[in-house]
Symmetry: C2
Subunit: 233 residues, 2 copies
């Protein structure tokens, strides 16, 4: 799905990463590079490179004479897209989906407000196109098509905000939306109210109405939170 092992070290990473984030090696566990090299049938240098990457994600800590120790969960770089993907693929996917959705509901209204002020005509056009695509695929079990337009819609809003930090959250939002469609809820067609909100949001951004864009996005977020039972009805 992401990038398939362009090297041995990537293969090791694709095994160790999910194993650690998935709790297979709980915090405090100790790995030894020699043992890993044997297990994966690669040289120690390959293992070392993989460990260095895990270390940069704060998933593990490598210390002499003791080995490679798994760090406590609170220290992980949970904003690393790779870590997010590993965790979403693992056992605590629901929990992960919830914290990410709460994050979205804080970020996206602000981003939409800024987008209304800064969006280029091209971005407005693309946004409207996505909204139309969502309408077109909102009925008849075209979930994949709907997801595609939904992801693009939110990505454009985040990019149009002009804020780099918001823009880089596009991938996270994409993962969350994909996760929602593929695993959690949404067995039926999407909520018509949500579709309408997106159409109106595209309008608000086009008209430069920051306050309305923000409020509409907040309503979209409330819907997403309800889907995960985070808010009481």
């Amino acid at each position: 799905m992401t990038d398939q092992a362009r090297g041995l070290h990537a293969r090791v990473l694709e095994n160790l990463g999910p194993a650690i984030t998935g709790g297979e090696y709980p915090p405090g566990s100790v790995l030894r590079t020699d043992e890993l090299a044997q297990r994966f049938e690669v040289s120690r240098s390959v293992v070392r490179e993989a460990v260095r990457v895990l270390e940069s994600m704060h998933l593990v800590e490598s210390r002499r004479r003791v080995g490679v120790t798994v760090r406590p969960t609170e220290e992980w770089n949970v904003y690393d897209p790779q870590v997010i993907r590993w965790r979403l693929a693992g056992a605590d996917r629901p929990r992960q989906l919830r914290s990410l959705t709460v994050l979205r509901s804080a970020i996206e209204p602000a981003a939409a407000g800024l987008a209304a002020q800064h969006a280029t005509p091209e971005q407005c056009a693309a946004l409207t196109e996505c909204a139309l695509g969502m309408v077109a695929t909102s009925r008849g079990q075209q979930l994949e098509g709907y997801l595609f337009h939904d992801i693009n819609f939110h990505r454009i809003v985040l990019n149009a905000s002009g804020n780099e930090m918001f823009a880089r959250l596009g991938d996270v939002v994409a993962e969350v939306l994909a996760g929602r469609t593929h695993h959690q809820v949404m067995f039926e067609d999407p909520d018509p109210a949500a579709v309408t909100l997106h159409v109106r949001l595209a309008e608000a951004v086009r008209e430069g109405d920051a306050a309305r864009a923000e409020e509409l996005t907040r309503e979209i977020a409330v819907g997403a939170l309800h889907e995960l039972d985070i808010l009481a009805p």
Copy 2:
């Protein structure tokens, strides 16, 4: 300040990282591992480990027969605390400080609202203590002491939100606050209004008043945005 070179690879990283994020090697630039090994007087394996880390931050891409290429800015993992530190230490610090402050102003009100609902008695006590510390150091050029309490205050709020993604933003907020005190503005004592807002926020959280906590944090954020001339007065 962070962690001083516990190994050769870390030393290489501390040179290459800031050089790349600082624009010394603009996107598209090509580095060769052999050359880097010579320049830093280390073996190739050490360079490879450093490059692997840079690759995991999406700062560079390593391809056979061509070398290690610096990736376009839009692809960098700007949420990586290490990358944030490197960029804050570099030339576009002001720009960086602005996007991070906008991020803060989106996240922290939501976090404060959640904190009002979920904070433990211990967290409430710690929060009040920090607010008192801020009051005590708010006059007489005790900027370092004030900064210390300010950082702790915001860190506690983010942690008390109960949301892991919010909690992990504590380090970023700490960097932003430290940057503001040490470089940007604040040559004089902090704004008394801001101090009062923090005291009242601690109250609101203690009383479990989510709406008021959110609103007070929003006001604190507005103050921070004004300091950087992001909002018109």
